[in-house]
């Protein structure tokens, strides 16, 4: 900081000296071409600048030069703004614009404004670099809460229709949640098998894939904002007073069926696109938390994924006096690179392994310390936040999550 201030003073002194050295009587030279280089954060991919305007205000004359559109030339990850025939002098420069980009594969957007004051442009010093530093575009969507335990009725019956998962935009840019899918692991964290082939280091094996529908930019999520995805997006409290009103959920895991035994109430919230599910009955999360969950940006179309992202595994099953070579055919998989966030869920007394690669989640979290723990109801796993309210994501849910936290949407 000190150095910064020192540099500032030097710049200001230099500027003052310049001003004093320049006589107002001298004819003002015109710089044929000045170039402002606009640097944007390096982690943005496919950045597209729009509505870009650069305003150069001559401090002495108050003359304003506005540069737009065609003058912005894409250069590598940044832009070059070309200004012609500027009078040499001291300028205040403001560049505003709108950036569309992809961040870790997720579409995002951000308006920005960068300023640079008292910039001296002369025939010898006519280029300058400006950096879009108003946002860092760090982070992205995270799973901020999973409520999988359900609630308990006053009579002691379990109720699981009120399960939900919350995903939050943990970055400082607006991100689009379209084509982000909620994935449930095909394997249980409580049953370890040596599957052949073992693809865990490259892929996540899933038994359910429900995707947020949209045209690519239908579901913007502001920085710090969340989406509530409810198993049933209805007001559960009318039927089960201890439950939750989820009628305002953003999306719903709706299971369309013609079988009246598996009627799924279709709340107001838009339905997730059910790409694949292992069962034709109503879908719900494992209420003891035996499956890991993840969110992924689906980078291919439904047809292609359904056709090509499926494999068969074999393993040795041992139970009591029974040990057999088994086949588990038809396991869908999602490449680990597509995964934005993942959480291993398990129960301490019966846990055997993690089913997400350690690069996605090196730890695990839980509700209930023993199997069928009756105290687990009404509890969630919730991601911790730092002092600024940002969710902590170190890819280790043991550290990042608060286990057995009161469900955030319950009136505790």
């Amino acid at each position: 900081m000190k150095k910064f201030i020192l540099n500032g003073i030097i710049v200001m002194l230099t500027a003052a000296m310049c001003l004093t050295s320049c006589s107002s009587d001298d004819p003002i030279p015109v710089i044929p071409t000045s170039m402002v280089t606009l640097e944007i954060p390096a982690n943005l991919e496919n950045a597209v600048l729009s509505n870009a305007v650069a305003k150069l205000t001559n401090v002495q004359t108050n003359q304003v030069t506005t540069v737009e559109g065609a003058a912005f030339l894409k250069d590598g990850n940044g832009y070059k703004i070309m200004c012609n025939d500027l009078e040499a002098g001291t300028y205040n420069i403001v560049v505003t614009g709108h950036l569309d980009f992809t961040l870790n594969g997720v579409a995002g957007q951000k308006d920005f404004e960068v300023t640079s004051d008292n910039v001296v442009l002369s025939e010898t010093s006519h280029d300058l670099k400006m950096v879009v530093s108003t946002f860092t575009a760090q982070g992205g969507f995270v799973i901020s809460e999973i409520f999988f335990t359900g609630t308990m009725s006053p009579e002691g019956r379990t109720y699981s229709g009120d399960q939900y998962i919350i995903i939050t935009n943990n970055s400082d840019v607006t991100l689009y949640a379209d084509s982000i899918a909620v994935l449930e692991s095909a394997f249980l964290t409580t049953t370890k098998e040596d599957y052949t082939p073992d693809i865990m280091s490259t892929h996540f094996s899933v038994q359910a894939c429900y995707m947020i529908p949209g045209n690519g930019k239908s579901v913007p999520v502001e920085p710090g904002q969340s989406l509530k995805l409810a198993v049933n997006a209805i007001n559960h409290t009318t039927e089960q007073p201890n439950s939750i009103d989820l009628s305002n959920a953003d999306f719903e895991f709706y299971d369309e069926t013609s079988n009246p035994n598996f009627t799924d109430p279709d709340g107001e919230a838009p339905n997730l696109d059910k790409w694949y599910c292992y069962t034709a009955t109503v879908y719900q999360f494992h209420s003891r938390g035996f499956n890991s969950m993840a969110i992924a940006k689906m980078k291919t179309g439904k047809e292609d994924w359904l056709e090509n992202y499926v494999y068969d595994a074999t393993y040795l099953f041992v139970f009591g006096d029974f040990s057999r070579e088994m086949t588990k055919s038809g396991i869908y998989k999602v490449p680990n690179e597509w995964i934005l966030d993942g959480v291993n869920l398990s129960v301490e007394s019966v846990r055997e392994w993690n089913v997400l690669d350690a690069s996605i989640d090196a730890g695990w979290t839980y509700c209930g310390k023993v199997d069928r723990d009756e105290t687990r109801f009404n509890k969630s796993v919730i991601r911790k936040q730092d002092a600024n309210g940002k969710y902590i994501d170190t890819n280790n849910s043991t550290n990042d999550f608060i286990p057995e936290a009161p469900a955030s949407l319950l009136n505790n």
């Binding site: 009579e155 013609s258 799924d264 006096d321």
Partner: protein, 909 residues
């Protein structure tokens, strides 16, 4: 009917026939110890060395009067008697190997042609059973099993059961006959429709035969368990016959008190006998209280039985008449309740009560004259049951659930169930059974061979007067129920009519004795609709047993008798009422699923189809038994070995079928929730017509059960000094189950918002082969001086194996949503949807699983005190065991055995 008329006519003719009345000497040959008739004894004129005649089935003979004749009466197994004839004399033959005073505490192989085990009173006293199930330990292949009285007990003769209800024909096809009256289970409809919970399904005994828990053993004098080919007198069975004879007469007042680790039993009986009036009366009652777990009072089984048995005998010069009359009542109660501390709801309960009132009257006529008609018997029995299952459950739904109400086919709105309600479901069954049997035994006089011709007919009626499934569709316990309430009275009565004829021969010759039983039984169902394949069809069961006994031999100086026997017989079991007239199935499809915050605006519209799963092509289950046996008796040490093969290819099975149904799928996305003032109207809603495959179950004859094996029993004489007798029995069984009908399967995966729309058809699914080989070594010691009985039984299971029949992962064909059937192509395995029809079985699943040697040692002691008035007994099963760990594909399997013990007290006053 023509047949029956013929039989009755010929009966009448024979009754009126009498043998010509020339001067004859009559006599009866009896066993000196048992006073039972000796059949087929040869009567020879000593002087002339000429065989005169043989004794008949009642031990009688008649020879021309000749005062000088000396008779030699001989029969295999008896010491020959030489005597002078006397008028109407009784000739007592002494067995070569005396069984006098012998206390037998094991089952004994029957000496007749039919392969069967006979269990007498002594054996039961020693075994200390709680219900009939416990007796099965004694038959070859049996082992002591801890009583499990919280679920029905079914009988499995010559079989290693899998418990799969698709192979229950074997237990359904075992007939239980008590004092001549069969226990009918043909109209048993006691199942909770739609049940998925263990509480209810584990107690479902429909189509599985007699629940042996309900049969009390205390009144039983003797039981004969026919494993082989029974007489054609007994029908409507495939696999076996259990004949129970209960005690008649006596003067005792008896009490029995038994307690073991799971149950308590109390029994009281009073026997009356008025010898002068030839009248007996037996009264008895018993009470059994069993718990699945002694610590849990909420799950239990209770049984109460009362029995009154009267017998009156009229002796006349020419005949005797016996009337037997029984009145029986038995009640049993299965109770299961959830623990209130665990569920917060005291209302969760299952209760199944069974009340059976039975009446039997049997009139027996025995001729004392030398007529062709030797005996005739009329049995009339009737039973009425009042059965009730009550299931109550606090239902708390986890999501909006609907109850289809419509009893009509077509479009209708479903009722949306409240989220919390008290569900109540009853099943009321009132099976009524009536049974009439008329038998006659005739003898055609013949001096060469002893013969009996048995002719008879029976008629059986089963009807159920109960209300069946009774529940309010607005508060169902089982929300996924696919049937609607139906009164069982609507189901037509099952009438079964049979007639039979059987010839019994015994032909003593100098090169041995030939015995044969050959008969045929015809059975048909009446009161069936014309479209049933069985309508008007007679099913014939020919059965033959033949035996040849070698002439007396001498081995180690001991009299030796060897008999070789064989038999072949067909057995037919008619389908039950439930199999013939299953509940209609209601298949509902959701056309509109509209949810609104306001419950009044919600609407679920259904298309309902009604499928009648009645299979008119259903036929009876038929079992063809073949067996050969050898019976060697050396000085009273007896070895009996039977090899058998029973093949039943038409066992009953629930098979699933798929069919295409059409319904409208309404698109509710256009409905504006805010502007609704009531349920959305269907009139303007856009829809698409969808074809959907839906499955339903249907009874077929697709189950094959093949039973093969060898049964053996070795009984020694009681060794003197140590007063101990050794019995070695056991069996090697190999049971093959198979399904001859194509099985269908629809994967449940959802691909792109819709369940996979294809159904795979797979050939010969669901088969398995099981083997077991066991030997029980029983040493029983009887010390009369100390009134002490003691037995140790080492029950060895040499091995058991099980192996699933290899099935193909690939379907042979598949059904597309439009109902069209396509052959499976190799390339289909890569299709996005069809790939799911390929199943996951791996070759290792079809490997043979073998469990090696295990042995349990059981001990039983009985002691008589106070002049035999008090009789105390105790047993400890699995007191010691040898069950080594073994290796199964790299995994060490440890086995654990827990002892089971009990004791009892019998008081006789």
């Amino acid at each position: 009917m023509q047949l029956i008329r013929h039989i009755i006519l010929s009966l009448l003719v024979l009754v009126t026939q009498l043998a010509d009345a020339q001067a004859l000497i009559r006599g009866t040959v009896l066993d000196a110890e048992t006073l039972e008739p000796v059949i087929g004894a040869t009567i020879t004129d000593v002087k002339q060395g000429k065989a005169l005649t043989v004794t008949q089935a009642d031990g009688t003979f008649a020879i021309p009067k000749n005062n000088e004749v000396q008779l030699r009466i001989s029969s295999i197994g008896y010491k020959t008697l030489v005597t002078a004839p006397t008028a109407d004399g009784r000739y007592l033959l002494h067995a070569e190997v005396s069984q006098l005073g012998e206390v037998v505490v094991t089952a004994q192989e029957n000496r007749g042609l039919t392969t069967s085990s006979k269990i007498e009173k002594h054996a039961m006293e020693h075994l200390q059973p709680s219900s009939f199930s416990d007796l099965l330990e004694l038959i070859p292949g049996g082992r002591s099993i801890d009583p499990s009285l919280s679920t029905p007990n079914n009988i499995h003769i010559r079989e290693i059961s899998t418990g799969n209800s698709n192979y229950a024909t074997s237990s359904l096809g075992t007939s239980f006959i008590i004092d001549g009256a069969p226990i009918s289970t043909g109209a048993n409809m006691q199942y909770l429709a739609g049940a998925w919970d263990d509480m209810a399904t584990s107690r479902d005994n429909t189509n599985a035969g007699v629940d042996m828990r309900g049969i009390s053993t205390d009144d039983i004098e003797s039981v004969e368990i026919v494993r082989g080919i029974p007489s054609v007198e007994y029908g409507d069975l495939t696999s076996g016959l259990v004949k129970i004879e209960r005690r008649r007469g006596g003067h005792d007042l008896k009490f029995r008190l038994k307690a073991d680790m799971g149950s308590k039993l109390f029994y009281a009986a009073k026997d009356f006998e008025w010898e002068k009036h030839h009248l007996t009366l037996n009264l008895s009652a018993d009470y059994l209280d069993a718990k699945a777990d002694p610590r849990n009072r909420l799950e239990n089984y209770k049984r109460v039985t009362f029995s009154t048995r009267l017998r009156k005998n009229w002796e006349h010069k020419d005949y005797s008449l016996t009337l037997s009359s029984n009145i029986d009542f038995s009640k049993s109660l299965d109770n299961d309740k959830e623990d209130i501390d665990q569920t917060y709801s005291a209302e969760d309960s299952y209760r199944s009560s069974y009340n059976r009132y039975a009446l039997l009257n049997a009139l027996q006529y025995k001729s004392k004259q030398n007529s062709w008609l030797k005996s005739a018997e009329l049995t009339v029995s009737a039973s009425l049951e009042n059965d009730l299952i009550e299931r109550t459950r606090l239902v708390q739904l986890s999501r909006m659930t609907v109850a289809p109400l419509s009893k009509e086919e077509g479009e209708n709105d479903a009722y949306i169930l409240p989220f919390k309600y008290m569900g109540h479901h009853e099943v009321e069954g009132k099976p009524v059974n009536a049974y009439v049997k008329l038998n006659a035994r005739l003898q055609i006089p013949n001096n060469r061979l002893s013969n009996t011709l048995l002719l008879g007919t029976d008629w059986n009626l089963d009807k159920n007067l109960g209300r069946g499934q009774v529940f309010d569709p607005h508060t169902p316990v089982y929300t996924s129920i696919s049937s609607r309430a139906r009164s069982l009275k609507e189901i037509p009565a099952n009438h079964r009519m049979s007639a039979y004829a059987e010839e019994n021969l015994k032909w003593p010759t100098s090169i041995g004795t030939l015995e044969a039983t050959a008969g045929i039984r015809g059975t048909m169902l009446l009161n069936l609709d014309n479209d049933y394949k069985m309508n008007g069809k007679v099913y014939w069961d020919p059965r033959v047993n033949i035996g040849y006994t070698l002439p007396r031999l001498s081995i180690f100086g001991k009299p030796t008798f060897i008999r070789i026997a064989g038999g072949i017989g067909q057995h037919t079991k008619m389908p039950t009422m439930e199999q013939l007239f299953p509940d209609l199935l209601y298949i509902d499809f959701i056309q509109l699923n509209y949810y609104h915050d306001n419950p009044d605006y919600r609407r679920i519209n259904l298309m309902t189809y009604i499928v009648n799963p009645r299979n008119t092509a259903l036929e009876p289950a038929r079992n063809l038994k073949k067996e050969v046996s050898i019976d060697i008796n050396i000085g009273g040490n007896r070895l009996a070995i039977t090899a058998f093969r029973e093949k039943m290819t038409s066992g009953f099975r629930m098979q699933s079928y798929y069919r295409t149904f059409q319904y409208k799928q309404y698109d509710a996305s256009g409905i504006n929730a805010a502007s609704l003032t009531g349920q959305p109207s269907l009139i303007d809603l856009p829809f698409t017509v969808i074809n959907e495959l839906a499955g339903y179950g249907n009874y077929t004859n697709g189950s094959m059960t093949l039973k093969e094996g060898i049964e053996y029993t070795l009984e020694t004489k009681r060794f003197p000094v140590i007063l101990t007798r050794l019995t070695i029995n056991g069996a090697y069984f190999r049971t093959t189950y198979d399904n001859s009908i194509v099985d269908s399967y629809r994967p449940s995966q959802v691909i792109d918002n819709r369940q996979i729309q294809y159904v795979g058809l797979y050939a010969n699914d669901d088969g398995s082969v099981r083997e077991s080989f066991n030997t029980n070594f029983t040493l029983d010691t009887d010390v009369p001086r100390l009134k002490l009985g003691f037995s140790i039984s080492a029950q060895c299971m040499w091995f058991t194996t099980s192996q699933r029949k290899e099935v193909n992962n690939y379907p042979v064909q598949y059904i597309a949503p439009d109902g069209s059937i396509h052959d499976w192509q190799e390339s289909d395995a890569d299709d996005m949807y069809l790939r799911w029809l390929v199943r996951d079985y791996t070759p290792s699943l079809f490997e043979k699983n073998r469990v090696p040697f295990a042995m349990n040692v059981n001990m039983k002691v009985t002691k008589k005190l106070f002049d035999d008035r008090l009789h105390v007994a105790m047993f400890c099963n699995k007191l010691w065991d040898y069950t080594p760990d073994y290796d199964s594909r790299g995994t060490t399997i440890r086995r654990h055995v827990t002892p089971y013990f009990g004791l009892e007290m019998n008081i006789k006053l």
